[in-house]
Protein backbone atom coordinates (compact mmCIF):
# COMPACT_ATOMS: atom_id res chain seq x y z
CA UNK A 1 0.00 0.00 0.00
CA UNK A 2 1.34 3.38 -0.90
CA UNK A 3 2.32 5.16 2.29
CA UNK A 4 0.33 8.35 2.65
CA UNK A 5 3.25 10.68 3.13
CA UNK A 6 2.31 14.26 2.72
CA UNK A 7 4.65 16.17 0.41
CA UNK A 8 5.23 18.65 3.24
CA UNK A 9 6.87 15.94 5.25
CA UNK A 10 10.17 15.88 3.51
CA UNK A 11 10.62 19.37 2.19
CA UNK A 12 12.39 22.36 3.64
CA UNK A 13 9.88 25.15 3.91
CA UNK A 14 11.10 27.48 6.56
CA UNK A 15 14.35 28.35 8.25
CA UNK A 16 13.37 26.79 11.55
CA UNK A 17 12.04 23.61 10.07
CA UNK A 18 15.21 21.59 9.45
CA UNK A 19 16.27 22.15 13.03
CA UNK A 20 12.83 21.07 14.20
CA UNK A 21 12.69 17.95 12.11
CA UNK A 22 16.19 16.91 13.08
CA UNK A 23 15.32 17.10 16.78
CA UNK A 24 11.96 15.43 16.25
CA UNK A 25 13.45 12.43 14.53
CA UNK A 26 16.23 12.10 17.10
CA UNK A 27 13.49 11.91 19.73
CA UNK A 28 11.60 9.34 17.69
CA UNK A 29 14.75 7.23 17.53
CA UNK A 30 15.31 7.52 21.27
CA UNK A 31 11.68 6.64 21.98
CA UNK A 32 11.70 3.69 19.60
CA UNK A 33 14.91 2.39 21.10
CA UNK A 34 13.61 2.57 24.63
CA UNK A 35 10.24 1.09 23.76
CA UNK A 36 11.88 -1.72 21.80
CA UNK A 37 14.27 -2.45 24.63
CA UNK A 38 11.45 -2.65 27.15
CA UNK A 39 9.39 -4.81 24.83
CA UNK A 40 12.35 -7.06 24.28
CA UNK A 41 12.93 -7.59 27.99
CA UNK A 42 9.26 -8.21 28.60
CA UNK A 43 8.97 -10.77 25.85
CA UNK A 44 12.31 -12.33 26.66
CA UNK A 45 11.43 -12.72 30.33
CA UNK A 46 8.00 -14.07 29.51
CA UNK A 47 9.53 -16.67 27.28
CA UNK A 48 12.82 -17.57 28.92
CA UNK A 49 11.46 -17.55 32.44
CA UNK A 50 8.13 -19.10 31.64
CA UNK A 51 6.71 -21.28 34.33
CA UNK A 52 7.67 -24.86 33.73
CA UNK A 53 6.22 -26.43 36.84
CA UNK A 54 2.97 -25.43 38.49
CA UNK A 55 4.50 -25.32 41.97
CA UNK A 56 7.85 -23.84 41.17
CA UNK A 57 9.24 -20.96 43.19
CA UNK A 58 12.05 -19.05 41.48
CA UNK A 59 14.97 -17.44 43.26
CA UNK A 60 13.67 -14.41 45.13
CA UNK A 61 16.35 -11.92 44.08
CA UNK A 62 17.06 -8.95 46.21
CA UNK A 63 17.45 -5.33 45.11
CA UNK A 64 20.60 -4.37 43.38
CA UNK A 65 21.11 -0.74 44.18
CA UNK A 66 23.61 0.00 41.40
CA UNK A 67 21.15 -1.22 38.76
CA UNK A 68 18.44 0.97 40.21
CA UNK A 69 20.71 3.99 40.28
CA UNK A 70 21.81 3.34 36.72
CA UNK A 71 18.35 3.28 35.33
CA UNK A 72 17.34 6.37 37.20
CA UNK A 73 20.48 8.28 36.30
CA UNK A 74 20.79 7.48 32.62
CA UNK A 75 17.19 8.29 31.70
CA UNK A 76 17.44 11.50 33.66
CA UNK A 77 20.50 12.54 31.68
CA UNK A 78 18.72 11.75 28.44
CA UNK A 79 15.75 13.76 29.65
CA UNK A 80 17.99 16.70 30.44
CA UNK A 81 19.39 16.52 26.95
CA UNK A 82 15.91 16.59 25.47
CA UNK A 83 14.99 19.48 27.71
CA UNK A 84 17.93 21.63 26.65
CA UNK A 85 17.62 20.83 22.99
CA UNK A 86 13.89 21.52 23.13
CA UNK A 87 14.43 24.78 24.97
CA UNK A 88 16.94 25.99 22.43
CA UNK A 89 14.62 25.14 19.57
CA UNK A 90 11.80 26.93 21.38
CA UNK A 91 13.85 30.09 21.76
CA UNK A 92 14.61 30.01 18.05
CA UNK A 93 10.95 29.59 17.26
CA UNK A 94 9.78 32.32 19.59
CA UNK A 95 12.38 35.03 19.16
CA UNK A 96 12.15 36.93 15.89
CA UNK A 97 15.30 38.39 14.40
CA UNK A 98 15.67 42.15 14.50
CA UNK A 99 15.09 42.58 10.81
CA UNK A 100 11.70 40.92 10.90
CA UNK A 101 8.88 42.78 9.26
CA UNK A 102 5.64 43.02 11.14
CA UNK A 103 2.32 41.90 9.77
CA UNK A 104 -0.85 42.15 11.85
CA UNK A 105 -3.32 39.32 12.13
CA UNK A 106 -6.78 39.46 13.60
CA UNK A 107 -8.65 36.29 14.25
CA UNK A 108 -12.35 36.11 14.60
CA UNK A 109 -14.96 33.41 14.39
CA UNK A 110 -14.22 32.00 11.80
CA UNK A 111 -11.69 33.79 9.64
CA UNK A 112 -8.21 35.26 9.58
CA UNK A 113 -7.79 38.92 8.74
CA UNK A 114 -4.34 40.00 7.73
CA UNK A 115 -3.06 43.57 7.56
CA UNK A 116 0.21 44.37 5.91
CA UNK A 117 2.07 47.54 6.93
CA UNK A 118 1.74 48.77 3.37
CA UNK A 119 -2.01 48.76 3.84
CA UNK A 120 -2.88 45.64 1.90
CA UNK A 121 -5.50 43.53 3.60
CA UNK A 122 -6.09 39.85 3.11
CA UNK A 123 -8.63 37.38 4.33
CA UNK A 124 -7.58 33.79 5.06
CA UNK A 125 -4.41 34.40 3.08
CA UNK A 126 -0.97 35.79 3.72
CA UNK A 127 1.47 36.62 0.97
CA UNK A 128 5.10 36.87 2.02
CA UNK A 129 8.40 37.13 0.23
CA UNK A 130 10.82 34.26 0.53
CA UNK A 131 13.95 35.00 2.54
CA UNK A 132 12.38 37.73 4.67
CA UNK A 133 11.67 37.18 8.33
CA UNK A 134 8.03 37.95 9.07
CA UNK A 135 6.79 38.75 12.55
CA UNK A 136 3.08 38.27 13.11
CA UNK A 137 1.37 40.32 15.78
CA UNK A 138 -1.94 38.75 16.44
CA UNK A 139 -5.10 39.44 18.40
CA UNK A 140 -8.55 37.93 18.50
CA UNK A 141 -11.85 39.69 18.36
CA UNK A 142 -13.70 37.05 20.28
CA UNK A 143 -12.49 33.69 21.57
CA UNK A 144 -9.06 32.09 21.66
CA UNK A 145 -7.82 30.90 18.28
CA UNK A 146 -4.41 29.60 17.24
CA UNK A 147 -2.35 30.40 14.18
CA UNK A 148 -0.82 27.19 12.87
CA UNK A 149 1.31 26.64 9.80
CA UNK A 150 2.37 22.99 9.91
CA UNK A 151 4.87 23.37 7.10
CA UNK A 152 6.79 26.00 9.06
CA UNK A 153 6.46 24.17 12.37
CA UNK A 154 4.98 27.23 14.05
CA UNK A 155 1.93 27.70 16.19
CA UNK A 156 0.77 30.44 18.53
CA UNK A 157 -2.51 30.97 20.33
CA UNK A 158 -4.28 34.17 19.40
CA UNK A 159 -5.95 35.75 22.41
CA UNK A 160 -8.64 38.36 22.88
CA UNK A 161 -7.46 41.46 24.70
CA UNK A 162 -3.75 40.98 24.14
CA UNK A 163 -1.26 40.69 21.28
CA UNK A 164 0.73 37.51 20.83
CA UNK A 165 3.66 37.15 18.47
CA UNK A 166 5.15 34.47 16.27
CA UNK A 167 7.64 34.68 13.42
CA UNK A 168 8.86 32.70 10.48
CA UNK A 169 11.03 33.03 7.40
CA UNK A 170 9.95 31.11 4.33
CA UNK A 171 12.77 29.35 2.54
CA UNK A 172 11.14 28.23 -0.66
CA UNK A 173 8.29 29.55 -2.72
CA UNK A 174 5.17 27.53 -2.19
CA UNK A 175 1.66 27.41 -0.84
CA UNK A 176 1.21 26.20 2.72
CA UNK A 177 -1.75 25.35 4.88
CA UNK A 178 -2.85 27.73 7.58
CA UNK A 179 -5.11 26.16 10.23
CA UNK A 180 -6.79 27.33 13.39
CA UNK A 181 -5.45 25.14 16.15
CA UNK A 182 -7.50 26.13 19.19
CA UNK A 183 -11.08 24.99 19.24
CA UNK A 184 -13.15 28.10 18.72
CA UNK A 185 -16.68 26.96 18.07
CA UNK A 186 -18.79 25.62 15.26
CA UNK A 187 -16.58 26.30 12.25
CA UNK A 188 -13.24 25.79 13.92
CA UNK A 189 -12.27 23.21 11.31
CA UNK A 190 -13.26 25.58 8.53
CA UNK A 191 -11.13 28.43 9.75
CA UNK A 192 -8.24 27.86 7.43
CA UNK A 193 -6.26 29.66 4.83
CA UNK A 194 -3.09 29.68 2.83
CA UNK A 195 0.37 31.14 3.21
CA UNK A 196 1.74 32.14 -0.16
CA UNK A 197 5.51 32.36 -0.13
CA UNK A 198 6.62 34.16 -3.25
CA UNK A 199 10.00 34.87 -4.78
CA UNK A 200 10.99 38.51 -4.24
CA UNK A 201 10.11 39.38 -7.80
CA UNK A 202 6.71 37.75 -7.65
CA UNK A 203 6.09 39.34 -4.29
CA UNK A 204 6.88 42.81 -5.60
CA UNK A 205 4.44 42.22 -8.44
CA UNK A 206 1.78 41.07 -6.03
CA UNK A 207 2.25 44.15 -3.88
CA UNK A 208 1.76 46.39 -6.86
CA UNK A 209 -1.54 44.78 -7.65
CA UNK A 210 -2.44 44.99 -4.00
CA UNK A 211 -4.90 47.83 -4.14
CA UNK A 212 -3.92 49.27 -0.83
CA UNK A 213 -5.34 52.63 0.09
CA UNK A 214 -2.34 53.95 1.82
CA UNK A 215 -0.18 52.16 4.31
CA UNK A 216 -1.32 50.97 7.69
CA UNK A 217 0.46 53.89 9.29
CA UNK A 218 -1.29 56.29 6.94
CA UNK A 219 -4.63 54.87 8.01
CA UNK A 220 -3.51 55.29 11.58
CA UNK A 221 -2.61 58.89 10.96
CA UNK A 222 -6.06 59.60 9.61
CA UNK A 223 -7.62 57.99 12.68
CA UNK A 224 -5.29 59.94 14.93
CA UNK A 225 -6.80 63.15 13.70
CA UNK A 226 -10.32 61.80 13.28
CA UNK A 227 -10.49 60.78 16.93
CA UNK A 228 -8.90 64.04 18.08
CA UNK A 229 -5.81 62.47 19.56
CA UNK A 230 -3.78 65.35 18.20
CA UNK A 231 -5.66 67.74 20.48
CA UNK A 232 -3.66 66.50 23.44
CA UNK A 233 -0.73 64.73 21.87
CA UNK A 234 1.25 67.47 20.18
CA UNK A 235 4.35 67.11 18.11
CA UNK A 236 6.06 70.23 19.35
CA UNK A 237 6.86 69.45 22.94
CA UNK A 238 4.29 67.96 25.27
CA UNK A 239 0.69 68.95 25.55
CA UNK A 240 -1.79 67.64 28.09
CA UNK A 241 -0.61 64.25 26.83
CA UNK A 242 2.94 63.20 26.09
CA UNK A 243 4.59 63.77 22.74
CA UNK A 244 4.34 60.46 20.93
CA UNK A 245 7.38 60.95 18.73
CA UNK A 246 10.04 58.46 19.71
CA UNK A 247 7.77 56.96 22.36
CA UNK A 248 7.38 53.54 20.80
CA UNK A 249 9.88 51.08 22.16
CA UNK A 250 11.15 53.46 24.79
CA UNK A 251 11.14 52.81 28.51
CA UNK A 252 8.89 55.02 30.62
CA UNK A 253 7.91 55.27 34.23
CA UNK A 254 4.25 55.13 35.04
CA UNK A 255 2.49 57.02 37.78
CA UNK A 256 2.11 53.91 39.88
CA UNK A 257 5.87 53.56 39.97
CA UNK A 258 6.12 50.76 37.41
CA UNK A 259 8.70 51.03 34.67
CA UNK A 260 7.59 49.57 31.36
CA UNK A 261 8.54 49.41 27.74
CA UNK A 262 6.05 51.09 25.43
CA UNK A 263 4.92 48.29 23.14
CA UNK A 264 1.78 47.26 21.26
CA UNK A 265 0.06 45.82 24.30
CA UNK A 266 0.68 48.88 26.43
CA UNK A 267 -0.54 51.22 23.72
CA UNK A 268 -3.64 49.14 23.10
CA UNK A 269 -4.54 48.93 26.77
CA UNK A 270 -3.82 52.58 27.27
CA UNK A 271 -6.01 53.69 24.40
CA UNK A 272 -8.87 51.55 25.63
CA UNK A 273 -8.60 52.16 29.37
CA UNK A 274 -6.13 54.96 30.07
CA UNK A 275 -6.44 55.16 33.83
CA UNK A 276 -3.84 53.42 35.82
CA UNK A 277 -1.41 53.41 32.92
CA UNK A 278 -0.58 57.10 32.77
CA UNK A 279 3.01 58.15 32.30
CA UNK A 280 4.64 59.94 35.22
CA UNK A 281 4.36 63.68 34.95
CA UNK A 282 0.97 63.74 33.26
CA UNK A 283 -2.48 63.96 34.73
CA UNK A 284 -4.33 60.74 34.83
CA UNK A 285 -8.03 60.87 33.96
CA UNK A 286 -7.65 63.55 31.31
CA UNK A 287 -7.50 61.02 28.47
CA UNK A 288 -10.93 59.63 27.73
CA UNK A 289 -11.43 55.93 27.24
CA UNK A 290 -11.90 54.70 23.71
CA UNK A 291 -13.41 51.38 24.74
CA UNK A 292 -16.20 50.53 22.36
CA UNK A 293 -15.26 53.27 19.92
CA UNK A 294 -12.37 51.65 18.15
CA UNK A 295 -12.28 48.28 16.41
CA UNK A 296 -9.23 46.03 16.64
CA UNK A 297 -8.46 47.02 13.03
CA UNK A 298 -8.34 50.66 13.97
CA UNK A 299 -6.25 50.02 17.05
CA UNK A 300 -3.71 48.19 14.95
CA UNK A 301 -3.56 51.08 12.50
CA UNK A 302 -3.08 53.62 15.28
CA UNK A 303 -0.34 51.57 16.84
CA UNK A 304 1.37 51.20 13.48
CA UNK A 305 1.23 54.99 13.14
CA UNK A 306 2.69 55.60 16.58
CA UNK A 307 5.41 53.09 15.84
CA UNK A 308 6.15 54.83 12.56
CA UNK A 309 6.56 58.15 14.38
CA UNK A 310 9.74 56.80 15.85
CA UNK A 311 12.25 59.58 15.80
CA UNK A 312 10.64 61.30 12.95
CA UNK A 313 8.49 64.38 13.10
CA UNK A 314 5.36 64.56 10.99
CA UNK A 315 5.54 66.80 7.94
CA UNK A 316 5.53 70.47 8.50
CA UNK A 317 6.23 70.50 12.18
CA UNK A 318 9.64 70.72 13.77
CA UNK A 319 9.96 69.40 17.28
CA UNK A 320 12.47 71.43 19.32
CA UNK A 321 14.31 68.34 20.46
CA UNK A 322 13.93 66.35 17.28
CA UNK A 323 16.88 64.24 16.26
CA UNK A 324 16.39 65.73 12.84
CA UNK A 325 15.69 63.09 10.29
CA UNK A 326 17.29 63.95 6.93
CA UNK A 327 14.06 63.64 4.95
CA UNK A 328 11.08 64.73 6.95
CA UNK A 329 8.26 62.86 5.37
CA UNK A 330 10.17 59.66 4.90
CA UNK A 331 9.05 56.87 7.15
CA UNK A 332 11.74 55.58 9.36
CA UNK A 333 10.50 52.22 10.37
CA UNK A 334 11.46 51.28 13.90
CA UNK A 335 11.29 47.58 13.90
CA UNK A 336 12.35 47.17 17.48
CA UNK A 337 10.08 44.86 19.25
CA UNK A 338 9.62 43.97 22.85
CA UNK A 339 9.88 40.30 22.02
CA UNK A 340 7.17 38.15 23.50
CA UNK A 341 4.28 40.14 24.82
CA UNK A 342 4.66 40.88 28.53
CA UNK A 343 1.83 40.20 30.85
CA UNK A 344 1.81 36.51 29.95
CA UNK A 345 2.12 34.39 33.08
Amino acid sequence: MRLPIHPDLLAMQSTVRPEYDRFFWICVIICTTVATAIAFFLIYSAWHYRRRNANELPSQLDVKVPAEALWIGIPFLIFLGMFFYGAKLYFDIERPPDNAETVYVEAKQWMWKVQHPNGIREINALHVPVGQAIRLKMISQDVIHSFYVPAFRIKQDVLPGRYTTIWFEADKPGTYHLFCAEYCGLNHSQMKGWIYALSPGDYARWVQQGGAEGSLADTGEKLFHQFACSNCHHFAGHGPGPNLVGLYGSTVQLQNGQTIVVDDDYLRRHILTPSGLTVEGFHSSIMPTYQGQLTEDQLIALIAYIQALGNRTPEGVMAPDAQGSPNPGEHQRESRSAGKSPGGF
Partner: protein, 217 residues
Protein backbone atom coordinates in the same frame (compact mmCIF):
# COMPACT_ATOMS: atom_id res chain seq x y z
CA UNK B 1 -16.05 -0.44 83.50
CA UNK B 2 -17.69 2.53 81.84
CA UNK B 3 -20.84 1.97 79.89
CA UNK B 4 -19.62 2.03 76.35
CA UNK B 5 -22.94 1.33 74.68
CA UNK B 6 -23.43 4.94 73.76
CA UNK B 7 -19.97 5.10 72.25
CA UNK B 8 -21.42 3.33 69.27
CA UNK B 9 -18.24 1.61 68.24
CA UNK B 10 -18.80 1.17 64.57
CA UNK B 11 -18.29 -2.31 63.23
CA UNK B 12 -15.38 -1.45 60.92
CA UNK B 13 -13.28 -0.32 63.88
CA UNK B 14 -11.58 -2.55 66.42
CA UNK B 15 -11.13 -0.04 69.27
CA UNK B 16 -12.68 3.29 70.31
CA UNK B 17 -9.25 4.90 69.93
CA UNK B 18 -9.09 3.80 66.31
CA UNK B 19 -12.56 5.20 65.72
CA UNK B 20 -11.74 8.49 67.30
CA UNK B 21 -8.43 8.89 65.54
CA UNK B 22 -9.98 8.02 62.23
CA UNK B 23 -12.72 10.58 62.71
CA UNK B 24 -10.28 13.34 63.60
CA UNK B 25 -7.97 12.44 60.70
CA UNK B 26 -10.93 12.50 58.36
CA UNK B 27 -11.93 15.96 59.51
CA UNK B 28 -8.43 17.32 59.05
CA UNK B 29 -8.27 15.94 55.52
CA UNK B 30 -11.66 17.46 54.83
CA UNK B 31 -10.40 20.82 56.07
CA UNK B 32 -7.47 20.52 53.69
CA UNK B 33 -9.89 20.10 50.81
CA UNK B 34 -11.78 23.19 51.95
CA UNK B 35 -8.50 25.05 52.12
CA UNK B 36 -7.83 24.12 48.51
CA UNK B 37 -11.33 25.24 47.56
CA UNK B 38 -10.92 28.69 49.07
CA UNK B 39 -7.28 28.71 48.04
CA UNK B 40 -8.18 28.67 44.38
CA UNK B 41 -10.31 31.76 44.89
CA UNK B 42 -7.63 33.50 46.93
CA UNK B 43 -5.08 32.89 44.19
CA UNK B 44 -7.38 34.17 41.46
CA UNK B 45 -8.19 37.22 43.55
CA UNK B 46 -4.51 37.91 44.19
CA UNK B 47 -3.71 37.75 40.49
CA UNK B 48 -6.25 40.44 39.75
CA UNK B 49 -5.36 42.49 42.82
CA UNK B 50 -1.77 42.71 41.62
CA UNK B 51 -2.89 43.57 38.13
CA UNK B 52 -5.49 46.20 38.97
CA UNK B 53 -4.40 47.73 42.29
CA UNK B 54 -6.24 51.00 41.85
CA UNK B 55 -9.53 49.39 40.90
CA UNK B 56 -9.38 46.93 43.75
CA UNK B 57 -8.53 49.59 46.27
CA UNK B 58 -11.48 51.56 44.97
CA UNK B 59 -13.74 48.55 45.39
CA UNK B 60 -12.44 47.94 48.87
CA UNK B 61 -13.20 51.53 49.82
CA UNK B 62 -16.88 50.74 49.36
CA UNK B 63 -16.78 48.31 52.25
CA UNK B 64 -18.00 49.42 55.65
CA UNK B 65 -14.84 48.83 57.60
CA UNK B 66 -16.53 48.85 60.99
CA UNK B 67 -19.02 46.17 59.96
CA UNK B 68 -16.24 43.94 58.76
CA UNK B 69 -14.24 44.52 61.89
CA UNK B 70 -17.27 43.86 64.07
CA UNK B 71 -17.90 40.62 62.22
CA UNK B 72 -14.29 39.62 62.70
CA UNK B 73 -14.62 40.21 66.41
CA UNK B 74 -17.85 38.25 66.51
CA UNK B 75 -16.35 35.23 64.77
CA UNK B 76 -13.22 35.20 66.85
CA UNK B 77 -15.37 35.34 69.96
CA UNK B 78 -17.43 32.49 68.64
CA UNK B 79 -14.27 30.44 68.23
CA UNK B 80 -13.54 31.18 71.85
CA UNK B 81 -16.97 30.05 72.98
CA UNK B 82 -16.62 26.97 70.79
CA UNK B 83 -13.30 26.05 72.35
CA UNK B 84 -14.68 26.66 75.82
CA UNK B 85 -17.64 24.44 75.04
CA UNK B 86 -15.28 21.68 74.01
CA UNK B 87 -13.24 22.23 77.18
CA UNK B 88 -16.21 22.00 79.50
CA UNK B 89 -17.62 18.94 77.82
CA UNK B 90 -14.25 17.24 78.17
CA UNK B 91 -14.41 18.17 81.87
CA UNK B 92 -17.81 16.47 82.03
CA UNK B 93 -19.57 19.81 82.50
CA UNK B 94 -21.81 19.22 79.52
CA UNK B 95 -24.47 21.71 80.63
CA UNK B 96 -22.03 24.58 80.55
CA UNK B 97 -20.79 23.26 77.25
CA UNK B 98 -24.29 23.25 75.84
CA UNK B 99 -24.87 26.85 76.84
CA UNK B 100 -21.64 27.89 75.22
CA UNK B 101 -22.65 26.06 72.05
CA UNK B 102 -25.84 28.08 72.06
CA UNK B 103 -23.83 31.29 72.40
CA UNK B 104 -21.68 30.13 69.49
CA UNK B 105 -24.78 29.67 67.35
CA UNK B 106 -26.04 33.12 68.30
CA UNK B 107 -22.72 34.70 67.44
CA UNK B 108 -22.67 32.90 64.13
CA UNK B 109 -26.19 34.08 63.41
CA UNK B 110 -25.21 37.62 64.31
CA UNK B 111 -22.37 37.41 61.84
CA UNK B 112 -24.73 36.31 59.11
CA UNK B 113 -27.17 39.05 60.03
CA UNK B 114 -24.53 41.71 59.65
CA UNK B 115 -23.21 40.14 56.47
CA UNK B 116 -26.58 40.10 54.80
CA UNK B 117 -27.19 43.64 55.91
CA UNK B 118 -23.98 44.55 54.17
CA UNK B 119 -25.11 42.73 51.05
CA UNK B 120 -28.37 44.63 51.13
CA UNK B 121 -26.59 47.95 51.55
CA UNK B 122 -24.29 47.16 48.66
CA UNK B 123 -27.28 46.26 46.54
CA UNK B 124 -28.81 49.55 47.46
CA UNK B 125 -25.65 51.36 46.44
CA UNK B 126 -25.67 49.59 43.08
CA UNK B 127 -22.64 47.54 43.87
CA UNK B 128 -24.04 44.11 43.18
CA UNK B 129 -22.83 42.80 39.80
CA UNK B 130 -25.59 41.61 37.47
CA UNK B 131 -28.18 43.31 39.70
CA UNK B 132 -27.94 46.93 38.80
CA UNK B 133 -24.24 47.39 39.22
CA UNK B 134 -23.17 50.94 38.57
CA UNK B 135 -19.74 52.40 38.64
CA UNK B 136 -18.52 55.52 36.97
CA UNK B 137 -14.89 56.17 36.61
CA UNK B 138 -12.20 54.79 34.47
CA UNK B 139 -11.81 51.24 35.59
CA UNK B 140 -15.39 50.23 36.19
CA UNK B 141 -15.05 46.70 34.77
CA UNK B 142 -12.22 45.93 37.17
CA UNK B 143 -14.17 47.33 40.10
CA UNK B 144 -16.97 45.00 39.11
CA UNK B 145 -14.43 42.17 39.06
CA UNK B 146 -13.57 43.06 42.67
CA UNK B 147 -17.19 42.79 43.64
CA UNK B 148 -17.66 39.50 41.83
CA UNK B 149 -14.90 38.05 43.98
CA UNK B 150 -16.31 39.74 47.06
CA UNK B 151 -19.70 38.13 46.66
CA UNK B 152 -18.42 34.74 45.59
CA UNK B 153 -15.86 34.46 48.37
CA UNK B 154 -17.86 35.90 51.24
CA UNK B 155 -20.93 34.10 49.92
CA UNK B 156 -19.12 30.78 49.90
CA UNK B 157 -17.87 31.58 53.38
CA UNK B 158 -21.38 32.41 54.59
CA UNK B 159 -22.64 29.15 53.15
CA UNK B 160 -19.98 27.29 55.10
CA UNK B 161 -20.86 29.25 58.21
CA UNK B 162 -24.50 28.34 57.81
CA UNK B 163 -23.57 24.69 57.58
CA UNK B 164 -21.36 25.17 60.61
CA UNK B 165 -24.25 26.62 62.58
CA UNK B 166 -26.27 23.59 61.59
CA UNK B 167 -23.54 21.29 62.83
CA UNK B 168 -23.23 23.14 66.11
CA UNK B 169 -26.94 22.83 66.57
CA UNK B 170 -26.72 19.10 65.99
CA UNK B 171 -24.07 19.01 68.69
CA UNK B 172 -26.15 21.13 71.04
CA UNK B 173 -28.88 18.57 71.55
CA UNK B 174 -26.73 15.57 72.56
CA UNK B 175 -24.53 17.85 74.65
CA UNK B 176 -27.51 19.16 76.56
CA UNK B 177 -28.67 15.57 77.02
CA UNK B 178 -25.16 14.65 78.19
CA UNK B 179 -24.65 11.99 75.49
CA UNK B 180 -21.60 14.00 74.55
CA UNK B 181 -19.40 14.05 77.60
CA UNK B 182 -15.91 13.48 78.88
CA UNK B 183 -15.92 9.92 77.66
CA UNK B 184 -17.04 10.58 74.13
CA UNK B 185 -16.99 13.92 72.41
CA UNK B 186 -15.40 13.26 69.05
CA UNK B 187 -18.22 14.78 66.95
CA UNK B 188 -17.92 17.93 69.01
CA UNK B 189 -14.17 18.02 68.45
CA UNK B 190 -14.69 17.71 64.74
CA UNK B 191 -17.36 20.39 64.68
CA UNK B 192 -15.04 22.63 66.61
CA UNK B 193 -12.25 22.06 64.08
CA UNK B 194 -14.58 22.96 61.27
CA UNK B 195 -15.75 26.07 63.10
CA UNK B 196 -12.22 27.31 63.71
CA UNK B 197 -11.41 26.76 60.09
CA UNK B 198 -14.33 28.95 59.02
CA UNK B 199 -13.10 31.60 61.41
CA UNK B 200 -9.58 31.54 59.99
CA UNK B 201 -10.91 31.86 56.46
CA UNK B 202 -12.91 34.90 57.49
CA UNK B 203 -9.84 36.62 58.92
CA UNK B 204 -8.16 36.37 55.54
CA UNK B 205 -11.30 37.51 53.75
CA UNK B 206 -11.45 40.52 56.02
CA UNK B 207 -7.84 41.27 55.22
CA UNK B 208 -8.20 41.17 51.46
CA UNK B 209 -11.56 42.88 51.11
CA UNK B 210 -11.79 45.44 53.87
CA UNK B 211 -8.32 46.63 54.60
CA UNK B 212 -6.92 47.79 51.24
CA UNK B 213 -9.43 50.61 50.83
CA UNK B 214 -10.07 51.35 54.45
CA UNK B 215 -8.01 54.53 54.38
CA UNK B 216 -10.20 56.00 51.67
CA UNK B 217 -13.60 57.17 52.73
Amino acid sequence: MADTSHLELREQFSTPEQQRESAISGMWIFIVTELMLFGGLFVAFTVYRLRYPAAFTRGSSEMEYWMGALNTGILISSSLTMSLAEYFVAQNKSMRGAILLLVTILLGAAFLGIKFTEYYLHFHDHKMPAFGFEETGPFAPQVQLFFVFYYVMTGLHSLHLLIGIGLVFFMFVPTALRSLNAEYHTPLDNTSLYWHFIDVIWVFLFAIFYIPGAHIR
